[in-house]
Amino acid sequence: MAEAMAVKTTEGWVSERLRRMVATPHELHATSIRGGTLVLIIVAVLFVPHFAEFGNLQSIMYSLAAVGIGAVGMALVTLSGNLFMLSMGATAAFSTVVFASLISLGLLPTMLLVVAAGTLIGLIQGVLIGAADTNPIITTIAAASMITGFGVLWTGGITVVGHGQATWLGFGRVFGLIPNQILVMLIFAGIAGFVMQKTRLGREIRLIGMQRDVARVAGLRLIAATMFCYGFAGAAAALAGSLIASSSAQGNLTYGIDLDFNAIAAVLVGGVSIRGGRGRVGDAVVGAMFLSIIGNVLLVSGVSYEYQLVVKGAVVLASVIIGALLGQWAPRLRRRVGAAR
């Protein structure tokens, strides 16, 4: 019986893959954004002067790295069914200050400490949301003002100048080609993706995000999963803060404060369902990539700032609308692909 199944599965692998790509609304959305990003890159390479120059591609990577990491963290929170974490910007800003204060210890210990601090900040919120069952949006809003408050208390609003070397992270490149920052992002996203897709904890997070009550009756570890997501998102914000602070080895409570909305936009554009449980970490990274490329194309074509904002807003709104429309077409498409099979 099992053997027969295995044979059937191998034969059906390609069509199964195809079915998977359009099976659910968020998958369909994610697939289209991946396609859209590809089309965008091709169009930009062909029609936007200077776009394909190596320096420009690098600058896209630099502008992507921190937001991409933030989007990965945000995606975990969204997948766990807790919508958005609105304290990521504050955490990132706070982390730039911690980074600059500690950088004299050396880059690696500093990054580890900063990420540990961010994890702790996230974990505290995770405990409140997971164990005390508080509303995630309001809890993180409140946390954001308290994090900023403590930040001001500590620094007095002054830019903290670090005494140490952070150039490996700020400017370093592998073989002089790929910025180290983008490597850090890829490794981070890879870890998150592995946890979410391959591990027990990741499966639990997705199932809890999908239907919390079912997960409770099924005996899944609700509190641990929620705490993990928030801890991880806090770590992501802190890592993003490190990236931002590394270029000048300085920290200030205004650096990276807009990480929240950039990460949310990436999650929305990437097609992670905000109903929770449906979507992948990679989708958020693709969303961030799409937005970075759009932003870069507009900047490079010299479009004025007002129009850049309008276009970015339109992209997010259009992506939301298209995603939702795809959601309604998805069942029909699924039937068709199913029938073809």
Binding site: M1, R200, R206, L207, A215, V217, A218, R221
Partner: protein, 512 residues
């Protein structure tokens, strides 16, 4: 539609639905069905899940536009596909349409229609009160918030809404599914009073005894087609079942297990208490035994099963499994102790609708398939195939989202998810709610097979037929106390009803 199927057609139909058809994708949900309804008639509508009842109801309510057909009320045709005027046809939905944050009065007045944009609660209050008093709903509190009501009271509010609207046609979609018998009686009384006042009623139910008790005529749908419309008194229960499933139902074939007193108990409960809901309860369950717990809503019978599943937090009293004392304070405690649980609310608590079948089946036992926290998909897949075979789930659909399965197959997945734990005790809450008759007997057979392998099964059900069909032993509960715990053959439905309605001693009922 044949002429024969429209025999006993009333002279002046209040509701006349003709030639209704609806196609969803490639599936004919309804194929040219019709129904005529006279004033002062209670009309039963029966059919298995997927027979087209709910599509029919949605078309009547104007929530779905049929591909063809026409509906008229009192001779005036309805505009199809638009919300039907609730004063013509009012529907009491199976899934309660009660807004918990609103007061009872607001709930009753919700969607009332009418031209005035204003709503002054104090002005309509008296009128609504009178209308309800007339049909025997005098006890419904109008000013309380609906969230403070019991499930049964909410059901009555829903019916009260139909009454207040003074609808010509009142459609009750499984109004008794969640009710205890005392409350069912109240619903029936109200329905009869309304009938006597000239309202036409449609009564949709899975419970055949109720259909026979209440209705004047019965219509049966099967696979989207009209099968029969007959006077209820002209039919036997067997006729009806045959019309519904298209063949004779073989039932009650399983011999009940006679409990040997000398067998060591698999589950032994002593002095189990849960707040005020459950007085100290003693209960023992042998391996291989299937026990049915019966009780009215609020009797504490459902609390007992939930407490054993770890859903009620820490409870007082002793629980021993195979002679070893265990402490159950959470779902995970219960699972560790060897207890698996299948909840009553399948879509809300039982299964992950948007996750594939295999992921559901192993959801509670992921720890067994993870090495260093990483899931071992091959082992998981193998176990999924085993469970699918055990519960007769099509192995080709292991990768499909559960939402795409029928109700019966969804319940099999829920059962498989619990069985995956390889429990020593399986606890079921309403094991076949919303499952059609065919899948139901399959599930009973599987449960019996599991029991024969040594599993002890304890289930709670409000369906007496189910209890008599499945249980080796019946435990009746009244006001948090066990009335009787006795072999199935030793008592009949009437005695069970007596137990759960009155308890041991009739005088208890009088002292409030």
């Amino acid at each position: 539609m044949t002429a024969a199927s429209l025999s006993h057609k009333p002279a002046t139909p209040v509701l006349a639905a003709r030639d209704l058809s609806k196609r969803y994708g490639g599936i004919m949900a309804l194929q040219s069905v019709g129904l005529d309804l006279g004033a002062g008639e209670i009309h039963g509508l029966c059919g298995e899940n997927g027979a087209g009842k709910s599509t029919f109801i949605k078309i009547l309510g104007g929530l779905v536009r049929p591909d063809s057909g026409e509906i008229s009320v009192d001779g005036r045709p309805l505009a199809l596909g638009q919300r039907t005027d609730p004063q013509l046809i009012s529907i009491v939905h199976q899934e309660l349409a009660i807004v918990p944050t609103l007061s009872v009065l607001d709930n009753i007045m919700l969607g009332m229609g009418g031209t005035s944009p204003f709503y002054f609660a104090h002005l309509v209050r008296t009128q609504v009160r009178q209308g309800l008093d007339e049909v025997g709903l005098a006890h419904i509190p109008l000013d309380r918030k609906a969230s403070a009501l019991s499930l049964a009271e909410r059901q009555l509010v829903e019916i009260a809404r139909g009454v207040a609207r003074r609808a010509r046609v009142l459609l009750l979609d499984e109004p008794t599914a969640t009710l205890s018998d005392a409350e069912i009686k109240r619903v029936f009384d109200t329905a009869r009073l309304l009938r006597d006042k000239g309202t036409a009623l449609v009564f949709v139910s899975h419970r055949l005894d109720e259909v026979f008790a209440l209705t004047d005529r019965v219509t049966v749908f099967r696979n989207g087609q009209h099968v029969l419309t007959e006077r209820t008194s002209d039919l036997t229960s067997r006729d009806l079942v045959k019309a519904m499933i298209g063949r004779d139902l073989v039932r009650g074939t399983q011999k009940p297990l006679s409990v040997a007193a000398d067998r060591p108990a698999r589950l032994a409960i002593a002095g189990l208490r849960c707040g005020d809901a459950l007085k100290p309860i003693d209960l023992a369950l042998a391996p291989g035994e299937i026990a049915g717990v019966v009780g009215q809503l609020g009797s504490g019978a459902d609390v007992l099963v939930e407490a054993l599943a770890g859903l009620r937090g820490l409870v007082d009293g002793q629980i021993a499994i195979d002679g070893r004392a265990v402490v159950i304070g959470s779902v995970r405690d219960a699972m560790k102790a060897g207890i698996a649980y299948v909840p009553e609310d399948r879509a809300g608590k039982g299964i992950f609708l948007d996750a594939p079948v295999w992921m559901n089946l192993t959801a509670s036992v992921m720890g067994r398939f993870s090495r260093g926290g990483v899931m071992q998909r091959a082992a998981e897949r193998e176990r999924g195939l085993e469970l699918a075979a055990m519960f007769r789930i099509d192995p080709g659909r292991l990768g499909s989202e559960v939402a795409t399965l029928s109700g019966g197959n969804q319940q099999k997945v829920a059962l498989g998810k619990a069985a995956a734990l390889t429990p020593r005790i399986l606890i079921l809450n309403e094991p076949t709610r919303g499952v059609d008759i065919g899948a139901r007997s399959e599930i009973y057979a599987t449960l019996r097979r599991l029991a024969e392998q040594g599993l002890a099964i304890l289930f709670y059900s409000t369906d007496l037929e189910e209890v008599l069909e499945l249980a080796d032993r019946v435990v009746t509960i009244f006001r948090g106390e066990v009335v009787r715990s006795i072999g199935r053959d030793a008592l009949d439905g009437g005695e069970i009803l007596h137990d759960i309605l009155r308890g041991r001693d009739d005088t208890i009922v009088l002292t409030q």
